[in-house]
């Protein structure tokens, strides 16, 4: 499966306050042929997003110190860019605010724990191909 990486050149941002989580996620994503950058909270993440307008996907934890996943999503949404990187929440937590996920342009929610295959499928359907805008996936929000 790594013979013809479909995501060559794509950069993904992984945001999680848990170092183990960041490490294992990055490993998996790199195996898929993605370039991965990491942030340990929302504040770090938003700086990285601003610095990398060509990001293909943001995978963010929900609860983090300083600035959480929802605040990050809002910040991304409010970026004055014509197109913005797809935003996916990866969390074991069910915040009632997730009901407003659509408003915040949150494309999908992946619940911890999850199987490797789920992550791969999510990336496959969420990632913005270089230079294009992704289509929202119906029914992926809950």
């Amino acid at each position: 499966m790594f013979t013809d990486p479909p995501f060559a050149g794509c950069v993904v941002l992984v945001v999680d306050d848990d170092a183990d989580m960041r490490e294992v996620m990055s490993g998996v994503l790199e195996d898929l042929g993605l370039a991965v950058i990491e942030a340990k909270d929302g504040l770090e993440a938003i700086a990285l997003v601003r610095a990398n307008p060509g990001l293909c996907l943001i995978l963010s934890d929900l609860k983090m110190p300083r600035c959480d996943g929802l605040e990050l999503a809002r910040a991304v949404k409010e970026l004055p860019w014509p197109t913005k990187p797809p935003f996916v929440i990866v969390s074991g937590y069910s915040d009632p605010a997730l009901g407003r996920a659509e408003e915040l342009n949150i494309l999908s929610i992946l619940r911890k724990p999850f199987r490797l295959e789920e992550l791969r499928a999510l990336v496959a359907r969420s990632i913005r191909p270089l230079g294009s805008t992704p289509e929202p996936v119906p029914g992926s929000l809950d």
Binding site: V24, S91, G92, Y93, K112, P113, R115
Partner: protein, 620 residues
């Protein structure tokens, strides 16, 4: 002498003036004049008889001399005893008719004399008797209707003495028209000698038109020879005040009696021996006995046999030591239905300070008892559900803590498997993956251990030595997620994390979690919200504190926050059991849970003395 004797007899027996007689004047009577109307007066008495030992003759002699020497008439009265011992009075006048001659006139003045004497006697006697008292005297000549009313009598009715005509009508027109007929009947009864004395209490109008109650007592003091009352004397006593008291007493009695029967409370009275002498209707209803059945020792039958001993003991204490009888026990009726009652009784102390009975109340508290039991049950349920809620919250927090490590492990394992399948698993990667698995499993294990430790009742657990740092860390597993998740800063202060203390960890953790949850609720939504949890060594004990940036507890509520069921949360959001239960738990550990009112922020402190086992070195 026969003339004089006859004369004297006549004087004694006659009811009318009896004419004149003459005696010889000087020291000796020479001639006796004759009165044609006076029978038996024809003979002059023998001198020797006149000078005899009888006082009467002495008096006649002396008065005769007096008259002769004065040269004018001398009049005097003499009392003698008539037939049958009746007293009679005669008035004698001796008139000189010559140098040694006198003429005597005699008249029977008995009726007038008796009246005068009795007037004096009774008036004096009564005046004397009532002097200093408030009685008004009356003196009624029954045959003429004339009445003497004493000044006090007049004054009592608001009149000056000269304002009251001295006639019976002055009295009869003042007596209340409703009273007069029966009062007159009483007078008649006395006249008919059916009563020894006349006595009534009736209303009399005063000059100002006010009615006063008068106790009127009197007695006929002079009867005619044919048994008619001639004269009656009596006294007025103003008893209006007493009458008022009597009225009040009667009113009070009537009121008490009505209340006794209406009262929903059972009321009973016993004599000094404890025998029932009165029960009201409510008592009978509660006890299931009739009033007759309750009397004497019958009332004891209402007491539940199992409670007899307790009731007897309390009663004994009550009658010997005094104070109040106060006991709740059961009544049981004839059908075996028992009722919970609360009885209170007090001893009745007589005028001599001696207890001579008891009066008591009984109330039926059966339904209150049932409600109380239901409430206790409800409270227990609430306490349980509140614990469940806390447990649920902990479980939620734990799930969050576990999801990330589980995700890490799952991904790690699957990634290793995939890489191995691809033949791209260098040893270095394998070792790195395994080490991550190991550390993450360690994390999970710790969390599960905390869960096992804390999510139990924990009551009766022996305290175990734990490190303060590790213990607080374990507690925070359950709530860190929730706190951080709401953007609340969590500050942990443990100067000596290595210090060990013997703690009932499960229950202490529950208390700290409760305090942390309260802190969370107090600060959530606040800007710059923070919570600080601390554990420090104080002497041979440990002091835990949970402080928050919340608005604080209003001063007027501070005293109540440890009361069961007191809550400031909206209905349905708090049981009001957290703090009281926590306080109970800490106190059973020999410690104290209090609100630190001196702290600038809301700060709850748990102090557990004497639990320290190892003094840890304060960390840098």
């Amino acid at each position: 002498m026969p003339e004089l004797v006859a004369l004297l007899r006549l004087v004694r027996e006659s009811t009318s003036p009896i004419g004149a007689f003459a005696l010889r004047g000087g020291t000796s009577f020479e001639e006796l004049g004759r009165n044609p109307d006076a029978e038996g007066c024809g003979q002059a008495p023998a001198r020797a008889d006149l000078y005899g030992a009888q006082p009467f003759t002495t008096i006649l002699e002396r008065r005769g001399q007096e008259s002769l020497s004065a040269g004018r008439a001398v009049t005097f009265e003499h009392r003698c005893v008539g037939p049958g011992g009746a007293q009679r009075w005669c008035q004698l006048t001796v008139q000189p008719v010559g140098p040694q001659r006198c003429m005597w006139l005699a008249a029977d003045i008995t009726p007038a004399k008796v009246e005068e004497v009795s007037r004096l006697t009774y008036a004096e006697r009564l005046d004397y008797a009532v002097r200093g008292m408030n009685d008004g005297i009356w003196d009624w000549r029954v045959d003429t209707g004339e009445v003497y009313f004493s000044p006090r009598w007049c004054e009592m009715l608001g009149y000056a003495p000269d304002e009251v005509p001295q006639h019976l009508s002055s009295w009869s027109e003042s007596v209340h028209p409703d009273d007069l007929p029966w009062v007159l009947v009483e007078v008649e009864r006395h006249f008919a000698r059916q009563t020894e004395r006349y006595e009534t209490t009736h209303r009399v109008r005063t000059k100002s038109g006010e009615w006063r109650w008068i106790l009127d007592r009197g007695e006929v003091v002079l009867w005619s020879s044919d048994g008619r009352p001639l004269r009656m004397v009596g006294a007025h006593t103003d008893v209006t005040g007493q009458k008022h008291i009597e009225h009040q007493l009667r009113d009070q009695e009537r009121r008490t009696a009505a209340l006794m029967q209406l009262a929903p409370v059972g009321i009973y009275q016993t004599d000094e021996a404890g025998n029932c002498i009165f029960v009201n209707e409510a008592w009978c209803n509660i006890a299931g006995l009739s009033p007759e059945e309750a009397l004497g020792s019958g009332w004891a039958r209402a007491i539940h046999p199992d409670d007899l001993e307790a009731v007897g003991a309390e009663w004994q204490r009550f009658v010997t030591e005094g104070g109040l009888f106060h006991l709740s026990f059961r009544f049981v009726d004839k059908n075996g239905v028992s009722r919970h009652v609360l009885s209170r009784a007090s001893r009745l102390i007589n005028d001599h300070g001696v207890p001579d009975g008891t009066v008591g109340t009984v109330i039926d508290i059966t339904s209150e008892r049932a409600q109380e039991e239901a409430l206790t049950q409800q409270r227990a349920q609430m306490a349980a559900s509140s614990r469940l809620a806390a447990l649920g919250e902990m479980a939620g927090g734990l799930a969050h803590e576990l999801n990330t490590p589980l995700a890490v492990m799952l991904l790690t394992v699957e990634q290793l498997q995939a890489q191995e399948r691809e033949g791209q698993l260098p040893r270095e990667r394998l070792m790195r993956g395994l080490s991550r698995l190991e550390s993450t499993l360690g994390r999970v294990t710790r969390i599960m251990k905390s869960l096992r430790n804390f999510a139990r009742d924990g009551e009766g657990d022996a305290p175990e030595p734990v490190r303060l740092g590790g213990f607080i860390e374990d507690v925070l597993y359950f709530c860190r997620e929730r706190i951080l998740n709401h953007g609340i800063r969590l500050n942990v202060q443990i100067p000596a994390p290595e210090a060990e203390a013997r703690l009932g960890t499960t229950q202490l953790a529950q208390v700290l979690l409760n305090l942390l949850n309260n802190a969370h609720d107090a600060v959530v939504g606040q800007e710059l919200a923070w919570i600080e949890v601390s554990a420090e060594v104080v002497g041979d004990g440990v002091r835990f504190a949970v402080t928050d940036s919340g608005p604080g507890i209003r001063e007027d509520l501070r005293a109540r926050i440890f009361e069961p069921f007191f809550t400031t949360r909206p209905v349905g959001q708090g049981t009001g059991l957290g703090l009281p239960i926590s306080k109970g738990l800490i106190e059973r550990m020999g410690g104290r849970l209090r609100l630190d009112v001196g702290a600038p922020s809301t700060r709850f402190v748990v102090e557990l003395p004497g639990v320290l086992t190892t003094q840890g070195e304060p960390s840098a």
